[in-house]
């Protein structure tokens, strides 16, 4: 049995301790925001927040989570009440297939939370450099990050 706190709720799950957090979230808790993209920590599709830090859940054993608070895409907001970052992605229509978007939203959320002023385009590109998108949605994603920073009142 492993105990986990995800999106503010506490769970006990009966899984092998070496199970990557991603499989527990998706298969045991039914949280499908985080996606399986590579299982190799290369693409970012599986990103979640643990204690506000972006973590690649495909390569993070569930037993290592401990008391850390996990937040998934579902924990940020809903279609009716999206988080500022999610709202910005909707406003910019920043998704094609959308498979990478979990990673983009989670990485952006961690990035914007970790800094004060609004980021430059260069900083945004650096912050997302290890998140891959095959559809070529990058330009809209960059615009969405800028918009999110503005929505969150990050001054220049």
């Amino acid at each position: 049995m492993v105990t986990l706190t995800v999106n503010g709720k506490s769970y006990q799950v009966d899984v092998e301790p070496d199970t990557p957090l991603l499989y527990v979230l998706r298969d045991n808790l039914g949280l499908h925001g985080p996606k399986f993209g590579c299982g190799l920590a290369q693409c970012g599709a599986c990103t979640v927040l643990i204690e506000s830090k972006a973590v690649r859940s495909c390569s993070f054993a569930v037993s290592k989570v401990g008391p850390g608070k996990v937040v998934t895409l579902e924990g940020l907001g809903t279609p009716q009440k999206p988080s500022p970052v999610q709202q910005a992605f909707i406003d910019e229509q920043a998704a094609q297939c959308g498979y990478c978007i979990n990673g983009m939203v989670m990485q952006t959320t961690a990035f914007l939370a970790s800094r004060q002023g609004s980021p430059s385009e260069r900083e945004i590109r650096q912050a997302l450099q290890n998140n891959l998108c095959r559809c070529g949605t990058h330009q809209r994603i960059i615009a969405a990050v800028k918009r999110a920073a503005a929505l969150m009142g990050k001054g220049a």
């Binding site: 399986f36 297939c97 891959l132 330009q139």
Partner: protein
Amino acid sequence: MATLETTRRDFLLGTGTLVVSFSLAPSLAFTAGAQTAGTTKRVALDQVDSFLALHKDGTVTMYTGKVDLGTGTRISLRQMVAEELDVALDKIKLVEGDTALTPDQGPTWGSLSIQIGGVQLRQAAATARQALVQMAAQKLGMPSADLTVNDGVIFVRAEPQRRVSYIELIGDREFNLTVDKDAPLKNPKEHTIVGQPIPRPDIPGKVTGTHTYMQDFRVPGMLHARVIRPRAIGATLVAVDEASIKGIKGARVVRQQDFLAVVAESEWAAVKAAKTLRATWTKWEGLPEPAKLWEHVRATKVAKDDVAVERGDPKAAIASAARKLKATYDFAIHTHGSMGPACAVADVKRGKAEIWSPSQAPHWLRKEVAVVLQIDPMDVHIQYLDGAGCYGRNGHEDATCDAALLSKLTSTPVRVQWMREDEHGWDPKGPPTLIEISAGLDTQGNIVGWDAELWVPKADITEWPRTLAATHAGIPQKEALNPGNVHRNLDPSYPFAHQKAVAHRLDSTPFRPSWIRTPGRMQNTYANEVFIDECAAAAGADPVEYRLRYLTDPRGIVVLRAAVSMAKWDARPSPRRDQSGTIARGRGVAYVKYENARTYVAGVAEVEVNRQTGAVRCTRFYVAHDCGQIINPDGVRAQIEGQIIQTVSRTLKEELKWNRSRVTSVDWASYPILRFPEVPEVHMELINRPTEPPWGVGEPAACLPPPAISNAVFDAIGVRLRSVPFTPIKVQAGLKA
């Protein structure tokens, strides 16, 4: 499967696992049939009821065999129907890619969803509207000409209180009407929905984690499977050590001949078992040596020659020309590289198959699954669910056949999820492409003859590639090759007096081929548009002015001029010779009329070349685009941005790696793609022609980056790049030469 967020049939069980009620799926066809007077849902392409059902509650269901692969047709197809039917957009529900409920409008490929799929839907809507107005005329005792429609209500123009609604006229009954190809369409001047940048309905769910992707879909009692592919492409299975996974709870081996898989109740157990299982395969080294790929291509037996264009006598014209030019271009083997590896769920019992798949071609896949299961295609029911973007035929269809076979072999519903190495290693590939062009120039530098040859695999365009499941399980199947219509655009978009273009269709190609976004049209345009640049340079002419000497199509001229004016093109011959220092900048142009039959595109690339490292960076890309009538301009923009960025990636970085046995570029480290810091700014101008037919958008602009970037690099440093990808090593070699 119905994909409007409001028509979802899934629900959360107490366990928190997303499950689709299992009994719903098979009964769906029956339910829909029940709505239509006890018959099964019509799907014939010539029937209005195949495309549209108008309900008693005022909503409309539209049925389409085209699926939204992340391209936004879920909104744009709705716009076409809402406009022509005169019904509010939010009243239209959508059922897409369900083989029992939707007409077979062909695979979702070739930039044809709007151009063919949407036009069929639109004509069905126009027919329906015409019939409804006639019914209303009778009911109201007024001539049709005096009636007008607004949001599903028909009223007398002069006396708006005299009215009758679609609900009263047809609510939940069939039209029983053949699509009238002459049913009048609305005057585009009256359009209020078509032409608007209406947001996509699926994006809120996709950014909040509530949208159900194929990968998220579960059915009760299903097993998780992983397929273990041979160690070498042509290897056969000698032995399996089943005891090697006995420590993994609930995991077991399933095998038919060389088709080897593990299944388990927990997904992680299946993953671990697949990694742990010991199997012995025969040795096989049938692939060509990577360094000798192009010799291999040239030495491959030619099945036949297709002549794309033949006019005048180019050989004689070139022979007697003042100047002769010749160049060879090659284009590497590419993988689709979908962000989510393929996935499917199948439940096969009593000779019938229920399948959930992200395939671009559910109607086609139905036949493929039938081959694998050796049953009638009519006993296969496929429902589409979104996967990751596929950009052509990737691993989705193979994974679907894997799931079908495993469900049959285990008599249990099975979910197959490919791993990253499966998708990169085993999806069918864009074939290696080789092109050679000769031209003759007169003393003014004008082209007097053009002679092109292309080496690509032959294509049986009505057949699908052989599936891995059938191949490995020893199930008989057709041995067809189909890389797509890779000969198109071999004839350049300029009508030279003496020109010839021949495609040598090869009998075989090293890797199982399929189509990847803009198949052949990208490679052919790359060669044509670099070669005409080479001619312009030889003539000492500005590349744009030189193209305009030959371009006669007025819409093409408008597009080319729009692109260069947006990019503030500075007219002069290439290369520029005024730069010193490590970083050299350049600009290059490219133009094509897609398939020489539809969408016009022109582009300008701006690049920076690092003379020391050889690295090329595309900093900006300008596109001018005329696809005729625009249905949703934001959708068009998203597609153009995506194509440019994806193709810049393919042009600068991508190439399949292999050894004599197998693909070795099986992850994102060995098959790198463009990252955020390297992504160009994409600027565009859309030319809307509301009175013209709506043409395709998803592929044409992808023709532009390879030639425009090659031409821009030449402009910057005077080095011609004739081999995609344009890696630093090739640039450095060019600089040394």
